[in-house]
Assembly symmetry: C2
Amino acid sequence: MAHRHEETLAAVRANLPEDELLCDLGDLFKIFGDTTRIKILYSLFESELCVCAIAELLGMGQSAISHQLKVLKDAKLVRSRREGKTVFYSLADDHVRRIIGQGYDHLTEEEK
Amino acid sequence: MAHRHEETLAAVRANLPEDELLCDLGDLFKIFGDTTRIKILYSLFESELCVCAIAELLGMGQSAISHQLKVLKDAKLVRSRREGKTVFYSLADDHVRRIIGQGYDHLTEEEK
DNA sequence: CATTCATATGAATTTATATTCATATGTTAT
DNA sequence: ATAACATATGAATATAAATTCATATGAATG
C-alpha cells in the first residue's frame, strides 16, 4: 500500500466483474493469443476444413493441429463433424469473427 | 499430406491475410490472455488509476503491476500520465472495451 | 478381420511468460 | 544535498503452454 485512493477504488471495485468471469475472459483470449490457433480460426472463416487440410495449409504436423483443434473445441470456438474417416471443423459461432475483427481493427486503424 | 483438398485450400489461401498480420493478431490477443492484465484493463474502464492503486486493488506487488503495465503500454492499450511522483494509467482507446466486450458476449450469451 | 487412412492422445522436451526480489530512476520536500 | 516516496527495470525462478514423437482409436475397404 502507498498513498490514499480508497474513494477511487470503491467505485472501481463496484464495477469490476467477479473474479471467475475475469479469469474466464483471460482464458478465452489466451486461446486467440497463439498464431497457430489464429491461423486455424481464420482459415475456417472461408469454409469448413478437415484436419489434414489445415495441417497442409499451415505447413505443420497433423498432431500439432489436432492438439490445437482440441483446445479450440473445448472453448466452443469450433465444431466438428465426422464424415467417414475425415473430421471437418468449422467455426462454432459468429463471436469468433467479431473478436478477431475487433483485434484486426485495433491493429490496422489509426489511433487519434 | 494426406488426401486431396487443393481446390478448397486455394480459396482459403486467397482469403488468408499475410503471416505478419496473423502473428500480430496473435500477439495482441496474447496480451488480453492473462488474468492480471484483464483485471487491469477492466479496472481502467471506470477511471484512470495510479500504479499503487491497481496493485492494491488486485492484491499484488507493485513490481508485478508495473511489468504488466509496460506490456500493455507497449501494445498501445494503455496510456500514462505523470503527476508528480505518481503515474496515472488509462485506456488508450475504445478498442480495448470492444474487444473485451466481444469476449464477454461469447462467455455470457447462449450459442444456438 | 487385417490393413490402410484420418484423427486423437499421452508423454517428453522445449520455449515462453509471470512473478518476485533487489535495486535503479525520477520527483518532491525538508 | 538528503531523505522519502512512487514507479521502473533487470535478473532469476517458477509455471505454463506448444510442438514433436510414438502410439492409440475409429472408420472404410479388400
